[in-house]
Symmetry: C2
Subunit: 153 residues, 2 copies
């Protein structure tokens, strides 16, 4: 498989997975996974699709979370994370590894903001508990039915 | 919520999740997640349901994998893992942390064996590449719609 074809399969699963699974490393050294909103899902967030075109690999990921959350504390101590997309019923999956960083750029936070996030961040975009996290992969390992692929960035 | 009710919610999601996500820690310190067959899923593996009754918490997990796989190598170096079950469309999830061990007991390997695993392990139960991994949680964090719960074992 050509690398462009592999990247294409990788981008496609980002755009259709119902959820995304983010794994950090906890203070006592265990991986810790949780489901997150998949902002790359085009049918759930059609208005965000163009935000992700800026990155050369097409595999740029943003998450929203509470600044006060456990995962923010964990990534400050250790930014190494795994991001996983899955359509188990279609035998498709994508594992990404890289570093996760907190976004301080207010323009990005405004661009990503969705009205219904008021339920998470009652004070809106200026809520100190509204955080955006940014992830670019260093490694991707995917499978698509019987095809397996690995991409190093 | 009573702890018995929390455990009940936890067991229920094990039994209906289409897949289970296993995260190990890679040699370079990143979490590494992959989807695994969910042997606890009662509709996919009805004949295995009673195997899991032996454990007091009800949260005993077995995985099958290739002895030669990357994850087996990783768990020999670091047995700390995270096991995640998810029904994102129903807003239900369960995160388990604990140590993963390789099962050497041939009786357990025979009890768990499924006929269609010949496609993974062509020599059958005696295939040296047929491995069973065993996991009991030390910590569980779950959510069920608006209910959150944490159980330490």
């Amino acid at each position: 498989m050509e690398q462009s074809e592999e990247l294409d399969l990788a981008v496609k699963i980002l755009e259709v997975s119902p959820a995304v699974y983010l794994s950090t490393i906890s203070g006592d050294g265990f991986p810790e996974t949780r489901a997150m909103l998949n902002l790359r899902n085009k049918s759930i967030y059609p208005n965000l699709a163009e935000v992700f075109n800026e990155h050369k690999t097409g595999l740029l990921v943003y998450f929203t979370t509470n600044t006060s959350s456990h995962k923010v504390e964990q990534l400050k101590a250790n930014p190494k994370v795994c991001v996983y997309y899955s359509k188990p019923e279609e035998w498709r999956g994508l594992m990404l590894q890289g570093n996760l960083e907190i976004v301080h750029d207010l323009n990005i936070k405004k661009t990503l903001w969705q009205k219904d996030w008021m339920m998470y961040y009652p004070k809106g975009i200026d809520d100190v508990d509204y955080a955006i996290l940014r992830f670019c992969p260093l490694l991707a390992k995917g499978y698509h039915q019987l095809k397996n692929y690995t991409i190093n960035f």
